[in-house]
């Protein structure tokens, strides 16, 4: 009897083999998630824009907390969306903790803003801290992407 090998059967076998190989790979940390990565970059952009604008507005009523509440609302919504996504991924504890801390940093920034910024000098260490935090989070995502 002649054995007929259909191309779809070959594809199916290859798919099963690849799946088995992947199933056997040891995973100690969450897999890379493109949406998480994109969201972090979006939030970083939002924050960078806020600091640039705040720096220009210092000393004017436009820099007052009451005129910047929309930024904080947007940040909390974006961070909450990111948090829900991150928690849905297994072994993602590091990224979840980073998002919680970023949320806390935003709370601190808001509290400082409510007290009022008197000079650009006050903003520099905060801006640096947010930059460090975002760099770390992006670096983590890049590491996860390489580890795929």
């Amino acid at each position: 009897m002649k054995l007929v090998v259909h191309p779809w059967r070959v594809s199916l076998i290859l798919l099963v083999v690849v799946a088995l190989m992947q199933a056997c790979a040891v995973r100690l940390i969450a897999p890379y998630d493109e949406i998480t990565d994109q969201k972090i970059t979006e939030i970083q952009g939002q924050t960078a824009r806020f600091f640039v604008e705040l720096d220009r507005k210092i000393g004017t009523p436009a820099a007052d907390y009451s005129n910047n509440i929309a930024f904080y609302n947007d940040m909390y919504v974006a961070l909450s969306t990111l948090d829900v996504r991150a928690r849905a991924i297994e072994k993602n504890n590091i990224v979840v903790q980073q998002i919680e801390l970023l949320y806390g940093m935003t709370n601190d920034l808001e509290a400082l803003h409510k007290l009022g910024f008197n000079s650009t000098e006050e903003i520099i260490p905060i801006k640096n801290a947010f930059n460090s935090a975002f760099t770390a989070m992006v670096k983590m995502q890049m590491g996860l992407k390489r580890g795929e």
Binding site: Q98, D108, L112, A129, R146
Partner: protein, 109 residues
Amino acid sequence: MTLDVQKLLNDMLAAAKTSFSKDWHKVEGYAKPELEKFAQNLADIAAMKLANTINEEKAKLQIDVQKKAMIIAMLTAHGLTILSVESAINAAIDVVRGTVNTTIGWTIL
């Protein structure tokens, strides 16, 4: 009195090195500049206090922001260490996968 950035950095580097133990060399390149930035930001906050441009409440909040950013950075350092362990384990398994599976006759590894 101003804060000595270099002394702050040396103390933090010593503590981080002890804490990361044998994994320190894996994260040093990333963690060291982050600790440098952290030390500099602490010194900047202290300088604002000396110049009377911030009050205690603001200084505490500023320090809190710095601490949280530092924890985020150290979490990444920790995560990158886990990734390197994961990749070493998988590389070791890859090397013997063919031999084990062929010998046993099943694709189990």
